[in-house]
Amino acid sequence: MKLTNPNNKNTLSWLWLVALTVVSTYVGIFLELLNTQKSLFIAIVLFIVFLKGQQIIDIFMELEHAPKFWRRLLLAYVILLPIIIGLIYLL
């Protein structure tokens, strides 16, 4: 059992967050070249929001080992809010 995240876990999480940030910034340009629909672009960007949020909640906020209620509550935020925003844009 571990209370704290080892430094390498924090570092891996940080690198993953940086990579996702760069991808979400420039994925639009890439998809434009492929002539794909904007709805796919929005879906990808919002899915990346969830991936990044999950890292911050589980690793940085250390809720991975917290009571399930609190972890699920915070995770629900980064699942439901992107879904609501996505529905507003796509419907």
């Binding site: 999480s13 940086v18 940030t21 990346i48 949020g53 911050i56 250390e62 980064v78 809010l81």
Partner: protein
């Protein structure tokens, strides 16, 4: 046997090699988590309001977003993520009992976050030079309102981290009294969490 285990309904405490390890516990004060939930709710309303307004005024929002510098949004995302990373490292050090090292990492986190503040001020000033302000149109009203509200949270987070760093430097935290540090760190991560939704919503989509 040097392992002692006490069990209640919520928390399992295990003492291993004289280091207290906690599982299934909420980091920080419960009050801070209610405060975080309240903040997240307010921002959720703002984000949804922004998305609805964009659907009602698509042309205005496309033109408004074109006037923003996406690169500044990218830089600010990277600075907040990196700042959060250093706060996470600081908390790890604090759990290990190294208060002074934790304080130094918090100083680094604040220095990185100060880049965010500088970039944000530059972004505002460059928009003002173009004659754009909060009254220009609905897009910029929401842009200034949401980003300035977030900036205020960054500043409050930095003030909290200053107090936490000062206490950490004096070794006033220990394994049985660390919730103040954890609460400050959690608040800072919330600021980061909000930005990772704000950035794609206002700058990218």
């Amino acid at each position: 046997m040097d392992n002692t285990i006490s069990i209640d309904t919520q928390t399992v405490l295990v003492k291993t090699n004289k280091k207290l390890i906690l599982e299934n516990r909420l980091p920080g004060d419960l009050a801070m988590w209610f405060f975080i939930l309240a903040e997240l709710t307010v921002f959720a309303i703002l984000f949804i309001g922004f998305a609805v307004s964009e659907q009602l005024n698509p042309e205005m929002f496309v033109q408004g977003k074109a006037k923003l510098h996406q690169i500044t949004g990218l830089i600010n995302t990277l600075t907040l993520i990196t700042s959060s990373f250093f706060v996470a490292l600081a908390l790890t050090k604090m759990h290990q009992g190294y208060g002074k090292q934790a304080a130094k990492l918090l100083v680094v986190a604040k220095l990185v976050a100060s880049i965010y503040i500088g970039v944000k001020i530059w972004e505002y000033l460059s928009l003002f030079e173009l004659g754009i302000d909060i009254e220009t149109n609905t897009f910029f009203t929401l842009y200034f309102m949401i980003t300035f509200f977030h900036l205020m949270h960054v500043l409050l987070g930095m003030v909290i981290l200053i107090f936490v760093a000062l206490k950490a430097a004096k070794n006033e935290y220990n394994e049985s009294n660390i919730s103040g540090f954890e609460s400050g760190a959690s608040y800072w991560h919330m600021v980061d969490l909000l930005w990772i939704i704000l950035f794609p919503l206002i700058y990218v989509i």
